[in-house]
Structure formats: C-alpha cells, structure tokens
Symmetry: C2
Subunit: 352 residues, 2 copies
DNA sequence: CCAAAAAATGTGATCGGTCACAATTCACTG
DNA sequence: CAGTGAATTGTGACCGATCACATTTTTTGG
C-alpha cells in the first residue's frame, strides 16, 4: 500500500510566483479573460508551460460555480445482457468519442452514470449524482431521454440538460436525427431499386422514434402509390427474438415481401438468420435495410445496408451546447442532425 | 445563459445543524469511522437521509488527499475507425460496466481518457489528466498497458495503477486472463472433436497476449502429438483484412485445415466470410473458434464459438484493488482471472 | 473513588481555485 | 495637464469537505 507521497503538482500560486504576477492574473489567463495585456499574458503562459501547470478541476469547482463536468446518463439495462456482459450497444463508446472529445477541447470532462430504466429510485440516483458532482450539464440518452421525471428533476435543480435521440418540445436541448425522413429515404431507396413489396418491422412503441420511422415508411409508400399489404407491417421491440418472429411471419405471408426495412440492426440480423433458414438469398431474393448501424453490422454476412444514427455527432453537439450555454435548456430547443444511408451488401434490385 | 440559480444542495454543516452535532461528526459517519456512538451515528444518518445529503466529491478532494476518482485510459485509435465512428470494441462499454459498478459501490467515480497510442505527447496528456483530476488510481488498457513510459510516469507521480490484459512482473497491479491456457483449452476442444488439422491465425506481435496464445496452441498440439503443418500458423494483426488474407492462404493450402483458431473475433469473422466465398461450410467442413467474444459475435452466421476475455471482471477487479489499496502498485502483482470458452455454432466434429 | 488512559466529539486551519471588490495604471476628454 | 472613466492588476474572503489537534466524556484499574 503506502503509495508514497504523491508528487506535488504546481498550483496557481506557484505559477504566479514564477511569472511575478498575482494569482488572479494567472486565473485570468487560464480563463482567457480579455482584460490582460499581451505582454503579461505571454509571461504567464510561459510560466504555465514551463511548470506544466494544469488547473485542478476540483478546486475550480470549489471556488467557482462551474464544475467543468458533463454527466451522461446511460441505461444500465441496455449495457447488460443475459450473461451480465455488454450487450453490444455502442452508445457509450460513441458518446465517449463524440462527447468526450468535445469536452476535452474545452477543458471539460465527461462522466457516465448507468441508471436502471425500471428502477423506481432512478430519480434518487440522478439527484445523488447531481449533488455529488454538480455537473454543468447532463445528457440523457435513450431510453432515459423519454423519461420526463428525470427532465423535471433537472429543471427543478437548475441543471441544463440535453436529450439525445428523442425530443420534447417543451424543455431541454433535444439533439435528434430525423427518423421519419430517414425511414422515408430508406424506403425510397428500395422503391428506386424496383421493389414494390416492401415490409417494415417496427420498434418498441415506448420510443417516439419507432412511430416516426413507421410514418416515414408509410409516407414513402404512399407517395409512390404503392399499397401496403397488411402483413407487411410487423410489430417488434428491437430484440433479436422479435425480429425472428416478424421475419417468420413475413416469409410465411401469402404476399412475401422482396424488401424489408427493420427498425434496428438486431432485428435485421434476425431477418438475415431467418432468410438463411428459409433459403431466401440476400440480396438476390430479398433486400434488407436496418436502422442504427451499430459496429457489428459490418460483420454480418452479407454486411448490412443501414441508416446510421449519428450518435457520436449527437453527443458532440449536445456536449458543445451544454458547454457553450447559448441555449436555455429550461425552454425547448431542437437540433436535427443529418442521417446517413450506408449502402452495403444487403440491398439490390427487386427480383425478376 | 440564464440557467437560473442552481438549487443549493445540503452541505455537511446543514446536516450537522439538523442533527445537532459538529460537522466533523457527520464526516465521521460518512466515512464510517468506528469511533462514533451508535445513537449519534443513527441521528446523523437520519438527518443525512432526510436532507438527501451526498458529499460533494470536489470538496472531498480539496480537503482530503483522496479524489474518489479512478481514471481509465483507453486507446483512442481503437475507438475510431475509418469512418470516424466507434470501431465496435466494447472495452469501454464493459469497463463502464464492471469498473464503474465497483466504483459506485464505494463512492468512487470512473473517468475515461482516450489517448492516442502513437501520439508522442501521450505522456503529457496523462500528466495533464493526473494534475487536473488527481485520481486515486489509474487503469491502463491495451495497448497502453504495454507502454512502460506511462507506467513509469505513474510511478514517478506516485499514483497507484493497474494494467488490464497485459502484465509486467516489476510494477503495477496486473489483471490478466491466462491467454496461453485459454488458447490451449480452445485448441484442446478442437482436438477433442477429432480435428487434427488445426490452424492458428496469430495476432499482432505488439501484444504479449499474441505470443501467449500462439504458445498455447503449440502446446496443445504438441501434447496431442499432432504435428503442425507450416501453412497452419498464419500471421495476422487483429484486422479483418489480415484475417481475410490468412483465410485465403489456409484454404489454398495443400493441407487445408479442418479447424481454425483465430486470435480475435474480427479475424474470425473474416474467416467466415472467406469460408462462404470458398464454399466451405461451417461447422460441417470447418470449425472456427475466436478470441475476445465481442458482442457482435452472437450475430455472425453462424454464431461464433469464442474464448471470452472477462473484460468487465478485470475492470471490476482492477478498480477494487485500486480502491482498497491493499497492494502497493509500485511493486508488481499479478491477478489471473479465469477465461471462459463459449460454445456456439461454429464448432463441430471433424469431417469424416 | 479518583487518576490516568481511551474513546468520543468539537474547533479551526487548510486544500486550490474563483469571486467580489479595491487599487492601480492607462487613455481620453475639454 | 488635471479630471474622469475604462482597462488592468491585486487583495482577501470563500466554496465544502478533511485534517490535525484540542476538548470533553467514558472507561479502566489500583
């Protein structure tokens, strides 16, 4: 144990002494205050560089009213699976990537908190995190971004917050992808390939995005004056199992579709599995497009064509808005980021 | 802007006043000091619960010499891919899961830092993080766990640290899986299935684990007195491309193997792709076992049999050791965690 | 039963920044 | 060139915990 005495890092007063100025002037330089003469600023900066000084984030929090911390709330269940290991959602990964990079650029840090969706003490857990960390902003990810109780708590607490992947007109900075337009574009791309029998596997109705995607599908079909057979709209809940079930029904339909739009990757994987089982060739007999474009899709056989939800970009934007504080999150604001249709190998011309 | 006045969270003195004791007594209760009478402890605890008091982590850092922070260093390159999105490694995810849960249990928080492996300023970045956060411990993940410069920096700084997935006899708390034993067991399982022509695709030689896995393979083959054809040991670098190349060579070999052990999932996926292309059926003609068991493997067709590296468990253990401070990380300690062979659908009896 | 040691509780200083405000220097006016 | 206001720099208090140490209470034992 022991762990010796930790090397003492330089403080703001060490820098001040080295530069021959007051500690407050050093503080001004660090915080890019405009009211410091160039000569002084440079002298201080030199001292900072020479000493390798980096302000202590805890002390900054103590003195000022900012913590330089952004708290990201992720769902714990989504990170778990039956085996107690990661479920392969890459939200955390992507958020680290987009959000943390943005934070780092601005001297902030991102901290994660995993909260159980079902847990009735979710509010308490969030309150504890707020009290302990005093983050300057909170990012809610699905499904927490649909939990208004948490949002209300944040509003009451006065902590700015952003939602990702879900929107609310009344409060919060809502960073979203246009799900309806994306579904519409995906469907249109299938129509463009000559498909007419296009089916849709819906996501869990707990998510607003699910209905938006369904609407996009219907809209595209309607605009193409392509009637939708009742069998073609299958329910689902984003799980592999529900995708399997939907696929079975679609393949058993009297009007078997030549293209399927699945509301997420996992259900699309299930479709590929079932296609294999039913002897349906992809993409010769069947085209498949999925939503989300989680990393694993590149390794499916064949690799999935998918709509990418720009998680990293959304996280980056959410973080940057929270850091800049240009938007009052007590009121609602919506930021729509572009989706992207990644063409891979599960889509092709309609058969015949 | 605006963001109103933040709701004032209760402080230790609020609790003290409510309980009619000194702030120091409250501090003792929080920190589970044994020298507090039961009656007082209960009175204080009641006040804490009623006020919903949670100690401010920044203030704790200021007053004491602990920060209640564990810093996890991940590789930035591993989190990126060509498209600038997550590469699908689930280290971060799993570490959040294992490490953060452990931290939370003890009132700690886990903070991530992404550092470029190749960046010559990696040391500077780590030093800055140390100075800014003063973490109570640092966890190094591959490939940083093989970077002795970072370890030396931590030693000089006096910050306890743990390595995950890689070991060093001289310093650090090294939490590892027994790669050699795992490769040996995987190979043995193939031998047990009657396979004799077992091939191996190696990982990047930058990783110690790579040679350990190769040795395990050789050991198992040697013990079974099963000679290794020169073609069967293919080099690789953990990339899909290198897996493809290796698979092509193996399928073109005059002595085509009936089983392949790939040093990671990505290369195993490549083998499945190539098998499909060459008309080699899995598992009828060819058995495949991979290393790592990243989440996507469940969705390969067929799902991959794999050795799971217990990332979450390793992270949990690393965090708990750093929190407990029983081990002096200035000296070397090694903690070996069990691996697990997950049998899925890419393994079967040898053909004929 | 009282002294001495041990246990329980309280007091004030302190960590390293920022804040509010005071003091100084500078730049314009008329 | 004094007088005024703005820009620049400095001073000391303060955030909310813990630490070291002082004080009070309890326990122990001769």
């Amino acid at each position: 144990m022991a762990s010796e005495s930790r090397t003492k890092s330089p403080t703001i007063r060490d820098v001040a002494a080295a530069a021959g100025v007051s500690h407050q002037t050093v503080s001004r330089v660090i915080n890019k205050s405009p009211n410091v003469k160039v000569a002084l600023r440079e002298k201080v900066q030199t001292a900072i560089d020479e000493l390798g000084y980096v302000p202590n984030i805890a002390a900054r929090r103590m003195g000022g009213n900012r913590s330089y911390l952004i708290l990201a709330i992720n769902d714990r269940a989504r990170t778990l699976d039956n085996w107690g290991v990661g479920r392969g959602n890459d939200w955390v990964d992507q958020m680290l990537f987009g959000g943390m990079m943005e934070c780092e650029k601005n001297g902030f840090r991102m901290i994660f908190d995993l909260i159980d969706t079902e847990n009735p003490a979710a509010g308490k857990q969030l309150a504890a995190a707020l009290s302990s960390l005093r983050p300057d902003g909170v990012i809610l990810t699905p499904p927490h971004s649909e939990n208004q109780d948490l949002a209300d708590l944040l509003i009451a607490n006065g902590t700015p917050f952003a939602r990702i992947g879900s929107s609310n007109k009344d409060d919060g900075i809502n960073v979203v992808m246009d799900d309806m337009a994306a579904a519409q574009a995906a469907t249109q791309s299938l129509l463009d390939l000559g498909h007419r029998k296009v089916a849709f596997i819906a996501g869990s109705s707990d998510y607003l995005a699910s209905s938006a995607r369904l609407n996009g599908y219907r809209q595209a079909m309607a605009e193409a004056k392509s009637p939708i057979h009742p069998d073609w709209e299958q329910p689902g809940d984003f799980s592999f199992a529900s995708g399997t079930l939907a696929a079975e029904k679609l393949f058993a339909s009297t009007s078997r579709p030549t293209a399927i739009l699945a509301s997420n990757d996992e259900m699309a994987f299930a479709v590929l599995h079932q296609a294999d089982k039913f002897g349906v060739r992809v993409p010769e007999d069947l085209s498949v497009i999925s939503f989300d474009d989680t990393p694993g899709v590149r390794f499916s056989v064949p690799p999935l064509t998918a709509i990418r939800q720009p998680i990293a970009a959304m996280a980056r934007r959410a973080a940057s808005e929270l850091i800049e504080q240009k938007i009052d999150s007590q009121q609602g604001a919506e930021i729509i980021l572009p989706f992207e249709l990644i063409i891979r190998r599960t889509t092709g011309p309609a058969p015949e």
